[in-house]
């Protein structure tokens, strides 16, 4: 049987992120995710350091490892110099490599990140592109963004830029440069990870009886992973609300 702890140790972020944890819990105390989700980074680190294969496999299939927001506030505060956020990054990578991420609702969302940010990188050379932040799917961006989006060329010109120009903000990245990026992804395992996410997601969509397409975002499985919330993720929301919302208003 494959030793999952050894697989994790191959990741320098894991090796750097976890010496012996003494379970003080300061990471959980400082953690924004622990305040919002049913999440306890101290517990995650403690489970990993058991080196128990079954326990680690369970974690890789769990919702838990997907709650961290990677602010890395834990790194600043850990008295042992550990970084639970980096342990999480190593767990997430392994979960995707082994196809375990589709076992959880939060894990399945990786497909949406691959099809948005992931595809943007190789298609446009950016993680985020202005013409992809559609106010219809981003109502929180508000009226200022909607105006900017609807009058992008005029607005950018005012600010000294040119959409898809040769240089400056939001310039078009040349095809030969995109080819270099694609080549880097092929050589370094980036493409392999993209493929692993696609393959496991397609399999899961089939298992769930949902429509799946090889490209784009306009199909049932994509819409499902982006918006689905089974309501089990937040811990004691009333307590949280009491902390933050009842401030005299």
């Amino acid at each position: 049987m494959e030793d999952l702890y050894s697989r994790l140790m191959q990741d320098v972020r894991f090796e750097e992120g976890l010496k012996a944890c003494m379970n003080c819990g300061i990471c959980t105390g400082i953690c924004p995710a622990a305040e919002y989700y049913n999440y306890d980074p101290r517990r995650v680190v403690d489970l990993v350091q058991t080196r128990n294969n079954d326990v680690i496999r369970e974690l890789l299939k769990s919702e838990t490892i997907w709650y961290c927001g990677q602010c890395m506030s834990c790194k600043t505060r850990c008295p042992r110099g550990n970084t639970p956020g980096m342990v999480i990054m190593a767990l997430r990578k392994l979960s995707q490599e082994l196809g375990y991420f589709t076992a959880s609702e939060k894990g399945r969302q990786q497909f949406a990140i691959k099809r948005t940010v992931g595809d943007n990188v190789l298609k446009h050379g950016y993680c985020v592109v202005s013409y992809d932040v559609d106010p219809k799917t981003h109502p929180e961006q508000g009226p200022a963004w909607e105006h900017y989006y609807n009058h992008m060329e005029d607005s950018l010109a005012r600010l000294g830029g040119e959409l898809n120009g040769k240089e400056g903000p939001t310039r078009r990245i040349a095809d030969e440069v995109l080819d270099e990026l694609k080549s880097i992804f092929r050589v370094t395992g980036g493409q392999e990870l993209y493929d692993a996410i696609e393959e496991a997601s397609e399999k899961k969509a089939e298992e769930m009886g949902m429509e799946f397409k090889k490209e784009g975002r306009d199909f049932e499985y994509f819409r499902h992973v982006v918006s689905s919330d089974n309501g089990s993720h937040q811990a004691e929301p009333e307590d949280v609300r009491r902390d933050v919302y009842e401030t005299g208003r």
Binding site: T76, A112, G118, A144, R158, P169, R249
Partner: protein, 353 residues
């Protein structure tokens, strides 16, 4: 205490920021949401301060949002960043100026990893050469662009047309500063003042006449959380964190928020609008909202540049009240113009619009 001793005690909180000759790398988020800030950073550096800043249009995303969204492996991002180093090497530059805080954290992480695990540097060299035929030198320094404005803050103050002072009362404006988590929480030695005493924005605000607000949740994350915002179902996480900050700063009646991270600037502006829409709560003096500005926008205002060319109108919380306090005359009717100078229809529902 002798000054030399004091310097020694605080040595680990100091950062050496180069004086000139920067290789500039843009930010996916800043160029998308605050294109004017990037342009005015370059203008201020080149025209006002006479510095040499080089930009190569072949530079791309560092893939940082994908990396922290966990779809891009560490080996891949190391090679992408190494490609940027190769472009800098080819152009003869040794100092990297980084617009994005996520990128800055990644560059810091990569340089530290290469020091602690030298085999990762060798592997990256091999990967990059195999993929692109390029070679690179490790840069001598990396600076976040806020470090550079910080370095020249007093020079900017000497050229100031306006200050962070309420011209009606003569009192300093009350300013909240927000440092992006990845600026120095991960690798404190790369940030001015480290993780405990980040001074990069405080220094600017003090030099330009403002007062700093110290409030309980000053160092709390804005809530970006990468996948926690990127995926629609998770956005409550992001909103929740920003809201915690607003509630904490609100009793101190801030005139403005300045952030050094483009993501934080965007979220703290956007979530104020969202909270207003959902709950009818508007923060700030007289419920006018708390304007959230980039440090480049603030430096631009101090130097007397046109607020609408800096891009202040593309924030949900408008800065009209703030501009009036600073004595800056800017016609609100000139905010939304087309390329030919004609007026575009004004967006409805801006805060304090």
């Amino acid at each position: 205490m002798k000054p030399e001793g004091k310097k020694r005690i605080w040595a680990e909180y100091q950062k050496e920021i180069p004086d000139d000759h920067f290789f500039y790398v843009r930010s996916c988020i800043r160029q998308t949401f605050f294109a004017g800030s990037e342009q005015y950073f370059l203008k201020i550096l080149r025209d006002d301060l006479g510095k040499d800043v080089y930009e190569d249009p072949r530079h791309t995303t560092c893939t940082g949002i994908g990396y922290h969204g966990d779809v891009v492996p560490f080996e891949t991002i190391q090679a992408v960043v190494a490609r940027h180093f190769a472009l800098a090497t080819e152009a003869g530059y040794k100092h990297i100026a980084i617009s994005c805080v996520t990128s800055f954290g990644i560059y810091s992480e990569i340089l530290e990893t290469w020091k602690h695990f030298p085999e990762t540097l060798e592997r990256t060299r091999e990967d990059l050469y195999k993929a692109t035929g390029r070679t690179f030198e490790v840069p001598e320094t990396i600076s976040h662009t806020s470090d550079i404005i910080y370095k020249f803050r007093d020079e900017i103050a000497r050229k100031a047309k306006y200050n962070l002072i309420d011209i009606a009362t003569g009192k300093p404006l009350k300013v909240v500063e927000h440092i992006g988590c990845h600026y120095s929480k991960m690798f404190p030695k790369y940030g001015v003042g480290g993780a405990e005493f980040p001074h990069v924005l405080v220094g600017m605000i003090e030099s330009w006449g403002g007062d700093i607000i110290d409030y309980p949740e000053r160092r709390h994350c804005c809530g970006f959380g990468f996948r926690q915002y990127l995926v629609q179902a998770n956005r409550g996480y992001s909103l929740f964190a920003s809201r915690k900050k607003f509630e904490s700063m609100e009793p101190y009646r801030p005139d403005m928020i300045i952030a050094n991270c483009p993501g934080c600037t965007m979220f703290m502006d956007r979530w104020q609008y969202t909270i207003k829409e959902i709950e009818g709560i508007t923060y700030g003096s007289d419920e006018r909202g708390i304007p959230v500005l980039t440090y480049e926008e603030v430096a631009g205002l101090i130097l007397g540049y046109n607020p609408w060319e800096l891009g202040l109108q593309y924030h949900n919380v408008q800065s009209l009240q703030l501009l009036r306090k600073m004595g800056i005359k800017a016609d609100p009717a000139e905010r939304f113009l087309a390329k030919d100078g004609s007026r575009l229809p004004e967006p409805a529902n801006l805060i304090n619009g």
